[in-house]
Amino acid sequence: MSDSLLEARDLHAYYGTSHVLHGVDFRVARGEAVGLMGRNGMGKTTLLRAMLGLVKPRGGRVWVQGTPMTGAEPYRVARRGIAYVPEGRGIFPNLTVRENLVMAARPGLDGRRAWTLDRVMGTFPRLGERLEHGGAQLSGGEQQMLTIGRALMTNPDLLILDEATEGLAPQIAAEIWRIIRDVKGHGIATVIVDKNHAAVTSVTDRNVILVKGRVVFTGDSSSLRADPELLQKHLGV
């Protein structure tokens, strides 16, 4: 438990009246990169949102850094070192790039201030050139960099990326993947949801596949790559 950053046990969640999660167990250890896979509508985003407090689970438990946080206020979960880059990015279009970053700035749970505005600008030089631009003026790739940069400004222990490369041109997506590796290299744990399974497994230590709200596979990346039938069956690739 102690080295577990985020842990869910027997999680049940509903979207309206439909039962989306059927007793999911999920765990991220300190510094670990976990791929969360499954076809559309299998419950990946709902699982993330239920653990983050954005969806109230109807059953099961959630711990964040060992503290019980089932259905806690989302801001409390975030303050325990969990940063979330949602699908569709969620930048604030009415704030400038600088404001998007500065408003999120916060020391990490252990008080470290490793990620500052300067460091984010160093990691994302394109953002540095556009600090005074409005969020809505950025391209899709720049918006994604802004969301990741903003998440890093909270000095998280865990970065959750939901479809971070969706809809991006290949070379922009490649840059996002380079940044994800870079972030992992700094010891920040990640949960990655992405349709590019080859890219996911090249970064992650462990992978979880969801089918209809149930975990059907948990294993390391090499065993997943070695089993093309499994990929074909559950992910259709």
Binding site: Y75, A78, F92, L95, M103, A104
Partner: protein, 288 residues
């Protein structure tokens, strides 16, 4: 009409507009950020005016009354947000209208019980009681100029708060994506409570400083509410800049309407609103 009289009317219009801005800015923020139509907002203006009357009578000083009144109105705002308005964010507009209309009745009744149903005057503080002569027989009261100055200073402070501070960034961010603000570890509910309390305090403060000019009377909140709804819709819902522009426009149009078209004084502001909305259906400005 000579130039000096025109100037006096213009100053009156600007002063009325700036006062409307103080009330309307809170209404538009609460509407734009939390999505709440607060019909009781005018009642906070009334509450402020009565607090100025009661406290100024008790202490003999309008300033002491205002200081006390601001503290109490912030507390009232916090309390109302916590007990009532926080429950309205996820509800539809009909529920909001029902509850806030009920609140108007409750606040009027409380005013009747705690004070009375009479019209009261609040004396202008002696230090500001003078007039500035404009011509041989026309002069302009210092207190009205002071009123405009105070409103401008508060408008400037609000601009700095919203555009230059981290709280302001959170307020603006909360208007565009509440969930994302929370996911960054920021307590949006606390931000909402502060914004609501700020809106209550601004409306009440406007009532307090207007009391010596407008006198204090039952139902005074209702007229202010209606004209402020006009300002909010004209300025663009959620836009403080829009509220300032619309409030000045309404203040000046209303004042000159009374002078030049006294027969149509009641409808001039609504005609202007209709014209502005035909030109810009979403109001003068879009966001905060």
């Amino acid at each position: 009409m000579d130039l000096a009289s025109l100037l006096i009317q213009l100053l009156n219009g600007v002063q009325y507009g700036l006062l409307l801005f103080l009330v309307a800015s809170g209404l538009t923020l609460v509407f734009g950020i939390m999505g709440i139509i607060n019909l009781a907002h005018g009642s906070f203006y009334m509450v402020g005016a009565y607090m100025a009357f009661v406290f100024a009578s008790a202490t003999g000083s309008l300033l002491a009354g205002v200081v006390l009144g601001i503290g109490l109105s912030v507390a009232l705002g916090m309390l109302l947000e916590w007990t009532l308005f926080a429950r309205l964010y996820q509800r539809d507009h009909l529920d909001q209208v029902l509850l806030t209309y009920g609140l108007i009745l409750v606040l009027e009744e409380l005013r009747s019980i705690l004070v009375d149903n009479d019209v009261h005057g609040v004396p202008v503080p002696p230090m500001l009681a003078g007039s500035i002569p404009l011509t041989a027989n026309l002069s302009y009261p210092v207190y009205r100029l002071f009123l405009s100055g105070v409103c401008l200073v508060i408008g400037g402070l609000m601009y700095l708060l919203i555009q230059r501070t981290r709280l302001g960034m959170m307020i603006r961010a909360g208007a565009s994506n509440r969930e994302m603000v929370q996911s960054l570890g920021l307590n949006i509910k606390l931000v909402y409570r502060l914004v609501f309390a700020l809106g209550v305090a601004l409306a009440a403060f406007a009532g307090m400083i207007a009391a010596p000019v407008s006198s204090v009377y039952p139902g005074m909140g209702t007229h202010v509410l209606i004209i402020c709804l006009v300002v909010v819709v004209m300025g663009g819902i959620g836009s403080v800049r829009g509220a300032l522009l619309a409030a000045l426009l309404i203040g000046i149009v209303d004042t000159f309407g009374r002078v030049f078209l006294p027969q149509a004084a009641g409808v001039v502001v609504y005609l202007v609103m209709a014209a502005v909305l035909l030109w810009r259906p979403e109001g003068l400005f879009r966001s905060i």
